[in-house]
Symmetry: C2
Subunit: 477 residues, 2 copies
């Protein structure tokens, strides 16, 4: 007897709903009918419907049975294209600082932070790992850590890399203060002041800000939500601008949710290898997949050491620990050197604690649960936005990660909406943050990292009301 049978049934039904074979409002077979039809027990049939109900896809109507409540596929994905490849000094810094500060205010519903809620993290187990790691360390983790990083931690990172196709040793890995520091080192290793770097559009504001702060110019390459970075566009851009490096989030990009198919990743790596252009691959969301297997990375196709992969445990285990790493390929020595120059070494106790957590073997179990929860939350948020927001709203359909990319009616200025929402104690990330060219001014990024609660529902309803008001106001003018 397969105890996960109900999940298989639920998945099949979900596919039917997504493909709109079962449409919103359709009545589903009764539990008894499903049981007979699939040759499963009544309990399993109940469980399967329960699973779909949790995900918000179906609803039970008293004395009537189960109905399709929502199909994510009804909501078209957002695609946005930019018109120019002219390199730009990037700065969306002041908006970012404001958003970031407001994100952290007490009593604010944070729909703006692309991290999991603490409730989803293995709090007690990590605390235990911290205590144990300190107890085990000969110097209680008080001494400077090895420049390259905590050895056992690097060994575990190497081991886990197998899931994305990486055949690694600890010697190829450098630990950092979160993924952000890894990106800084990699950018500094492969560019000079004034160089142009290809980034995605829309792009996570942290990335454009880092470029700006290093005196680098950004060339925005449009992202297709199905196929990721537009490689043809990139090739064309290379002919007009001397692109010195690329920095792409290849899995579940932020904010677009785009997930580049393996074949396209391979194609990208081959193109860049040929041109000897390094690719900094930000894989911070790669582990947060909703599908059956982890997506591979560009790094897995890298034969020449031109791909520098960056990641961290901030999204999966502990944002506050600031434990990240990079695999700098042929730039290993340069990155090590930069690390020595700017931070001497990374903090010892947090690295040791994460290494211990990996050692306990709890990582896989934790991730299975986290992925399932995030997938459910993704569907619940999508459904809520689809129901509450005006009907011309477009919502991305990510297959992993923490965020929805929402395109509103062009009459809505997202930055204005951001300020208004704040007065109601709601924090969103306005689209303006995600481009240096003022694009995406009627887009918002909504994080589904927090469990879907009545408070979240209320916040989304308030947002919907504010948006509708804005549209009405523009139409009455």
């Amino acid at each position: 007897m397969n105890e996960f049978l109900y999940l298989q049934i639920a998945e099949k039904l979900q596919q039917q709903i997504e493909k709109q074979v079962l449409k919103t409002g359709d009545k589903l077979p009764s539990v008894r009918a499903l049981s007979k039809e699939q040759g499963i027990s009544l309990t399993t049939a109940y469980q399967a419907y329960g699973e779909l109900e949790t995900k918000g896809l179906i609803e039970a109507r008293p004395k009537s049975g189960y109905y399709v409540r929502f199909s994510p596929s009804q909501y078209p994905r957002t695609v946005s294209r930019q018109k120019t490849t002219k390199p730009q000094q990037v700065s969306v810094a002041s908006v970012a600082t404001l958003v970031y500060q407001k994100m952290r205010q007490e009593g604010v519903t944070r729909l703006s932070l692309a991290t999991p809620s603490v409730d989803l993290l293995p709090e007690a187990k990590l605390n235990k790992s911290m205590m144990e790691a300190i107890r085990r360390s000969a110097s209680s983790c008080l001494e400077y850590e090895d420049l390259q990083g905590h050895l056992q931690l690097r060994e575990h990172i190497a081991k886990n890399a197998f899931s994305w196709g990486g055949i690694l040793t600890a010697e190829e890995i450098v630990t950092t203060q979160g993924c952000m520091e890894a990106l800084v080192y990699c950018l500094k290793a492969v560019t000079e002041h004034g160089d142009s770097v290809a980034i995605e559009s829309p792009v996570y504001f942290g990335i454009s800000n880092v470029l700006h702060s290093l005196g680098l110019k950004a060339v925005e390459i449009p992202v297709d939500p199905e196929t990721g970075v537009d490689i043809t566009y990139l090739e064309k851009a290379m002919k007009t601008v001397a692109i010195k490096a690329c920095l792409f989030v290849t899995n579940f990009s932020n904010p677009s949710g785009a997930n580049m198919p393996a074949e396209r990743k391979k194609q990208l790596v081959e193109l860049l290898h040929k041109k000897k252009i390094p690719l900094i691959e930000d894989d911070i969301y790669g582990e947060m997949y909703f599908g059956k297997t982890r997506p591979v990375t560009c790094k897995s196709f890298d034969t020449g050491g031109w791909v520098l992969l960056c990641s961290s445990i901030s999204k999966a285990l502990a944002p506050g620990y600031r434990v990240g790493w990079c695999l700098p390929g042929r730039y290993l020595d340069k990155v090590l050197h930069l690390k020595l120059m700017s931070s001497v070494s990374s903090a010892t106790p947090t690295q040791a604690a994460i290494a211990h957590f990996f050692e306990t073997g709890r990582y896989d179990l934790h991730m299975r649960n986290l992925r399932k929860t995030l997938h459910t939350q993704c569907l619940r948020y999508t459904q809520a936005i689809a129901s509450f927001f005006p009907s011309d709203t477009k919502i991305s359909r990510p297959a992993g990660g923490f965020v929805l990319w929402v395109e509103l009616n062009p009459a809505v200025d997202a930055l204005e909406l951001f300020h208004e929402a704040l007065t109601y104690g709601i924090s969103i990330a306005p689209g303006q943050l995600f481009s240096a060219h003022g694009k995406f001014r009627h887009h918002i990024r909504v994080s589904f990292g927090a469990p879907y609660t009545p408070l979240i529902e209320k916040s989304l309803k308030t947002l919907a009301r504010l948006i509708t008001q804005k549209i009405n106001k523009s139409q009455s003018r």
Copy 2:
């Protein structure tokens, strides 16, 4: 009855020895005579001599009494002057990486690391603080910390600043990943790529490397071991080079040990204020004073917000925690912004643990012990080098910190010595690391952060032998 009376007596005697009123080899009054002369008990007289013995300044000869063994003042301080103010792209990077990597090898006697040995740190208390801090935190320190830094930690830093003349609030402080990251943010806040920055000569290689990595040019200003940075020289340099900022270690500089008198600090601050040139003040050694009171900082004379003070707990409590901070004065917003760009926030658990440690009130007691121990170790190392090394060796006489700056016979190449010493499992910092102009090639920096043990003595004797061999070899040529 004053329980510290013996320390007062010991100090007076030490002054006599330092002023060479009592010379090496002189017999001291008997315990009975000292007791009578000073109107103290026999026990107190014994304790006073015991204190001086611990410091290695006197020795008891069986059945004969106490004799002066050593006077630090016999060894002239090293003064080195540079000939040019032409700004230089700095890079002593490859040597630094090598030294740093070798420093950390197992079984190597590390005379090269300017940090206290773990034995001198409050290990158990810090562990307790870590546990307690995590227990208290609503999210077990898993969440991103506030951008500016842990509030209670900043409050304690503000409180402690009173000892160096700082009247501060937590709002003026930004926490960082060690002092090094603080320096990076401050440099980036006050300069543009290609600018010239005045630094000390000799200078800690970490500082010249950071400048290099930020594309800044270094103008080396000579340091006088008595009065610190040569202000007259700096003023002259300003007339020929557009100096955009200064970065000085004003208290117990590394490697020179120089400690700028308060009056000179005031003079420097006034000069720079007048010229609107920011001063980045690295005060990482300020708490490690051997005298009665903590030296003030330039920051304490800063009325215009032109001084950016940087420091950390790496030297006093826990190198591996990487908890540092800066007081960026008028550049606060800029530094906050840079922090957001490159690290999002600093690690939560380590900040929280240090805040808790401060809260327990154990910091003052710990520092009193640490200072006393370091002072004793300073004297023991100085004495050993003075005894074992060739007679033309010159040794700095720092009034705080962790390092001795040792000038050898000009026939000795310190980098060669470094490599030879490594084959004996001894790591020193060669003088070449401390200037971009190849100066100080016959200097070495010796750390006295580790307790003086027979192994240390053996290592210093080995060094002495290698040095003597080198001198003899050069003379026979």
